[in-house]
Amino acid sequence: MTRYSVSVHITPRRGVLDPQGQAVGGALRTLGFAGVRDVHVGRYVIVEADADSEQAARDDVSRMCERLLANPVIEDFEIATVSAK
C-alpha cells in the first residue's frame, strides 16, 4: 500500500445558476479588474488515501466523488492530480 494524494475539482454544472460566481465576478469588476468576464466558484478537495496503485487511488476517489464529494445533480467533478506521497 502506498499513500497517494488525489486532488479533485468540483464545479457547478454548466447551465446551473452560480450565484456565488456572479457575486464574486461583480465584486472583482467593482474593485477595478475590468477585464473579468466570468467567475465560477467550486470546491477543491484533496484526499490522502492508501491504495495499491495510482490507478486504484484514482478509481477510489472517482467513486468517492460519485457517492459523496460531488452532487451529481448540479455539479461536475474532475480528478486534477494523483501523486504518491
Binding site: 454548466r14 447551465g15 445558476l17 457517492r67 459523496l68 464529494l69 452532487n71 445533480v73 448540479i74
Partner: protein, 760 residues
C-alpha cells in the same frame, strides 16, 4: 397576425403530445380553441398551463366546496396569497406551497427554492414577510438516504430563510415509511401590510408595459424538458439541469425592491414567475384582468445564448418577477430596481385585442384567444372508491393487541414514545433556523403555536402548521378535520383566536379511485372543520402524484393556521411555569388508540380507527380555553396530540430545558378506559393547563360545557403518574434526554449518503 412555426421546432406527433402530458381529448380541445394545429411553442405553453400544478384540474371542483368567507377576509383563494384584516388598518397575507418533487431530487436546493417561491407569493401582495413555517414528511431516519434528504431539506430551508432574514418560527416534521421515496416539503410564509397596500396580480390598462425583473432566465427546470433535451436544439447542453438553484441574496434584493415598487405607485400589478415561469405569470395576470398581452421573448434577459421561445417561456429560473407598470413610468420603475442592482427589461405590453400573443422579434410564435387559455382548461371528477385494504385496517381490533412485556414498565413506553422522531423535540431542526431576526418572535419553535408580535399594536399572531397523515390514511374525513382542529387548538393554547387557514393537499395519483376518494373525503372533512371553527380557507396548494414504487404517500392535507392574540398579556406558553401550580385537563379521554403513535412505535401497527373529532367539542374547548386565558387564570397550556396525555405531560415538564419542572399527577379519573389508552391514546379536544387557580379554570370550562378536572400539581425533579396499580416515576433528566436528543443522535449515528454540509 399569423402564427408561424419556428424552423427547427420538432414536428408535433401524438407521442410528443403525450410527452407533454396532454391527453388526446385535451389536445383536441386545444385544436378547437385555436381552430388549427398548435405550434411547438404553443404546445409547451398549454402543457404547462394545463398541468395539474397550474390548472388544478383534478381538484378545482372539490376546492370550490371549502368555506372561504368571513368579514375579515380581504382576499380569498385565487391570488398569490390570501389576506385577512387584523384590525388597526393592518392585514396579514399568508400562503403555503409544496416543493416535494424538487426536494426528492435535490433536497437542499429543492427546499431552498420552495422557500423562495412562497416568500415571493407573499411579498407580491404588498406584504412584508415576517415569519416562515414548514411542514415536512420523511421516511425512517434509520435509512441513510432519508437522513440525507432530511439533513439537506432542513439546511436548505434554513439557509434560504436565514439569508433573506425572515425568521422560521414553527412547523412540524413526521416520519413514516409511506414517505420513504417521496418526502413532503411544504413551506408557509406570513407577511404583514397596511390594508391599503394590498396589490393584486391583475393586469390592466392598454398600453401598460410588462417588465421582467430580477434574475436572468436560464435553462433550469424547463417543464417537461427531460424528454426533449436532445431534440430541442442540437447545440443545447444534453445535461441541461432540471434542478433550480436558489439565490437568497437576489431574493432579498427582490423583496426590498418589490415592496418599494408597490409603495411607489408606479405599477399596477406584480407576480412571481413561479411554476411554468413566464408563461403562467403572464397568462394568469392577463386572464384575471380579462385583457390581452403581447410578449417578445427576444427582449427577455437570458443567462445563456441560443435559448428558444419554448425554453424562455417555460424556464423556472428562480428569483424573477413580472411587473405591469403604468405607461410612462418605466424610468421610475427602472431606477428603483437599479438601486437594488436588479436587471429589468420591458418585454411586452397590455393590448386591447383579447389575445395572448408571444413573439420572437417580428415572428409570432404563439397566439391564443386570451382568457380561454386559462379558462378552457378541462377539469375532472374521477371515480372515487375507498380501498378495501384501508377499510379493513380501520376496522382492525386494536384493543385486542396484547401489550409487550416491556410495557409493564410504563416509563419504558413513555420514553420510547418521547424518543420517536415524530414526537421528539425538533430542536435539531429549528436550531438551524434563525428564529430571532426582526425581533418579533415572542414564542419561537418548541411549544405549540409560534407567537409573533405585530409591531405598533398590542396584538400578536399565533401560527402553526399541522396534519397527521396516518389519521387521514385510516379515515380521511376524520383525519382532515383533526388537522384543522389540532392547528386551531395549538393556536388557542398560546392565547390566539383561530382566524383562517391556508392548506396544502399532498396526495398520490388522483386518477386512482382510492386516491381520489382520499382527496374528496379530506377536502370534505377540512370544509366541515373550517365551517365549525369559523376559520375560512384563504388559499392553498395542491400537490398530487406523490408516489414512489412503494405506493402513494399518506393523504396529507397540511393546514397552516393563522390566529390573532388581541392582547399581548394573553400570550401563553406551553410548558409548566411554576412549582405548586395546579394541573388541569380540559376535555375527556376515551378508549382510542387507533392510528396512534403508540401502536406504530411500540407495536409496528398502523390500524384501527383514528380518534374521533367532535367539532362542537373542539369549538367549546377553544372558547373555554381562550376565556380562561383572558381571565388571567392560565399559566401554561399545551394540547394533547401524538403520544397522548402522558407525552403531553412529559413535554410540559421538559420543554424548557433551562428550567424543567416535574409534576405529580393522578390519572384515575377514567376507570372505564384501559390504562394504555389513558396514557397514550390520542383522544382529541384535550388541553393540559397549569394554573394557580384550578377552580377558575374549571368554572370557565363548565360555562362552555367542557369537561375539566384537576390532575395534580407542578413540581419536583421527576414526572410521577399514578394510575391504578401503575406508579410511574420518571426522572426529568431521562425525559429530557429522550425528548431533546434522540433526533440529534440518529443524525450523528452515521453519515447520510451525501453530505449537505458540503454545500458551500
Amino acid at each position: 397576425m399569423t402564427v408561424s412555426a419556428r424552423p427547427g421546432d420538432p414536428v408535433i406527433t401524438p407521442a410528443l403530445v403525450a410527452e407533454h402530458g396532454l391527453t388526446p381529448d385535451e389536445y383536441a380541445k386545444l385544436q378547437d380553441m385555436l381552430g388549427r394545429d398548435p405550434t411547438f411553442t404553443e404546445l409547451g405553453i398549454v402543457s404547462a398551463l394545463w398541468s395539474e400544478h397550474c390548472s388544478y384540474k383534478h381538484s378545482r371542483p372539490l376546492l370550490r366546496t371549502l368555506p372561504t368567507k368571513a368579514p375579515y377576509v380581504l382576499q380569498g383563494p385565487g391570488e398569490n396569497a390570501g389576506v385577512i384584516a387584523i384590525g388597526d388598518g393592518l392585514a396579514v397575507a399568508f400562503k403555503i406551497e409544496s416543493h416535494n418533487h424538487p426536494s426528492a431530487v435535490e433536497p437542499y436546493q429543492g427546499a431552498a427554492t420552495g422557500v423562495g417561491g412562497i416568500l415571493r407569493d407573499v411579498f407580491t401582495m404588498g406584504a412584508r414577510p415576517i415569519a416562515m413555517l414548514n411542514s415536512l414528511r420523511f421516511g425512517s431516519l434509520e435509512r441513510p438516504r432519508v437522513r440525507y434528504l432530511f439533513g439537506g431539506v432542513v439546511k436548505g430551508i434554513g439557509d434560504y430563510g436565514n439569508c433573506v432574514g425572515i425568521p422560521t418560527v414553527a412547523g412540524e416534521v413526521m416520519f413514516d415509511d409511506s414517505y420513504e421515496g417521496n418526502p413532503l416539503v411544504n413551506a408557509m410564509c406570513v407577511g404583514i401590510m397596511k390594508e391599503d397596500e394590498l396589490i393584486t396580480a391583475v393586469a390592466s390598462g392598454v398600453g401598460n408595459p410588462i417588465i421582467a425583473v430580477g434574475a436572468r432566465t436560464g435553462r433550469d427546470g424547463i417543464h417537461g424538458a427531460s424528454f426533449a433535451s436532445e431534440d430541442l436544439s442540437a447545440a443545447s447542453d444534453a445535461k441541461r439541469p432540471r434542478v433550480q438553484v436558489g439565490d437568497p441574496f437576489t431574493e432579498k434584493l427582490l423583496l426590498e425592491a418589490s415592496l418599494e415598487l408597490i409603495r411607489s405607485g408606479h405599477i399596477v400589478a406584480i407576480q412571481d414567475m413561479g411554476a411554468a415561469g413566464l408563461t403562467s405569470s403572464s397568462a394568469e395576470m392577463a386572464a384575471r384582468g380579462d385583457v390581452g398581452v403581447t410578449i417578445d421573448v427576444m427582449k427577455c434577459p437570458v443567462r445563456e445564448s441560443g435559448m428558444t421561445p419554448y425554453e424562455i417561456l417555460l424556464s423556472e429560473s428562480q428569483e424573477r418577477m413580472l411587473v405591469v407598470a403604468k405607461k410612462g413610468h418605466e424610468a421610475q420603475v427602472h431606477a428603483i430596481l437599479e438601486k437594488w442592482d436588479l436587471t429589468t427589461a420591458v418585454i411586452g405590453e397590455v393590448i386591447a385585442e383579447p389575445v395572448y400573443r408571444v413573439t420572437e422579434g417580428n415572428r409570432v410564435v404563439a397566439e391564443f384567444p386570451g382568457i380561454r387559455l386559462v379558462t378552457d382548461c378541462p377539469t375532472y371528477t374521477p371515480a372515487a372508491c375507498e380501498s378495501d385494504d384501508i377499510a379493513r385496517l380501520r376496522a382492525m381490533d386494536v384493543a385486542g393487541i396484547p401489550p409487550k412485556p416491556e410495557e409493564a414498565d410504563a416509563s419504558w413506553t413513555l420514553l420510547s414514545l418521547l424518543a420517536s422522531p415524530t414526537i421528539a423535540s425538533k430542536r435539531w431542526v429549528y436550531r438551524q433556523y434563525d428564529t430571532s431576526v426582526r425581533t418579533n418572535t415572542v414564542i419561537g419553535p418548541g411549544g405549540d403555536a409560534a407567537v409573533v408580535r405585530v409591531r405598533g399594536t398590542n396584538r400578536a399572531l399565533a401560527l402553526k402548521t399541522d396534519c397527521n397523515g396516518r389519521y387521514c390514511y385510516l379515515d380521511p374525513r376524520m383525519g382532515a378535520r383533526i388537522a384543522v382542529a389540532e392547528a386551531a387548538r395549538n393556536v388557542a393554547c398560546t392565547g390566539g383566536r383561530p382566524m383562517a387557514i391556508t392548506n396544502n393537499l399532498n396526495f398520490g395519483n388522483p386518477r386512482r379511485p382510492e386516491i381520489y376518494f382520499q382527496l374528496r373525503e379530506c377536502v370534505s372533512g377540512m370544509a366541515e372543520a373550517c365551517e365549525a371553527l369559523g376559520t375560512p380557507v384563504t388559499g392553498g396548494n395542491v400537490s398530487l402524484y406523490n408516489e414512489s414504487p412503494i405506493g402513494a404517500v399518506y393523504p396529507t392535507p397540511v393546514v397552516g393556521m393563522v390566529g390573532l392574540i388581541d392582547d399581548l398579556a394573553h400570550i401563553t406558553r406551553s410548558h409548566f411555569q411554576r412549582a405548586g401550580d395546579d394541573i388541569v385537563l380540559l376535555g375527556d379521554s376515551f378508549d382510542e388508540i387507533g392510528g396512534s403513535e403508540y401502536l406504530a412505535r411500540v407495536h409496528g401497527v398502523v390500524g384501527g380507527a383514528p380518534p374521533r373529532c367532535d367539532l362542537p367539542a373542539e369549538k367549546a374547548l377553544i372558547d373555554a380555553l381562550l376565556e380562561a386565558i383572558a381571565s388571567g387564570a392560565v399559566r401554561s397550556a399545551h394540547d394533547c396530540a401524538e403520544g397522548g396525555l402522558a407525552v403531553a405531560l412529559a413535554e410540559c415538564c421538559v420543554m424548557s430545558r433551562d428550567e424543567p419542572l416535574g409534576a405529580d399527577v393522578d390519572l384515575n379519573a377514567w376507570p372505564a378506559v384501559p390504562l394504555r389508552a389513558v396514557l397514550f391514546g390520542e383522544s382529541q379536544a384535550r388541553v393540559v393547563v397549569s394554573t394557580p387557580d384550578a377552580a377558575a379554570v374549571i368554572a370557565a370550562a363548565q360555562r362552555h360545557g367542557v369537561p375539566a378536572r384537576k390532575l395534580g400539581t407542578v413540581g419536583g425533579k421527576s414526572l410521577r403518574i399514578s394510575l391504578g396499580a401503575t406508579q410511574l416515576d420518571c426522572a426529568l433528566s431521562r425525559i429530557d434526554d429522550a425528548y431533546h436528543e434522540s433526533i440529534a443522535r440518529l443524525m450523528a449515528e452515521m453519515p447520510a449518503s451525501s453530505t449537505p454540509e458540503l454545500v458551500s
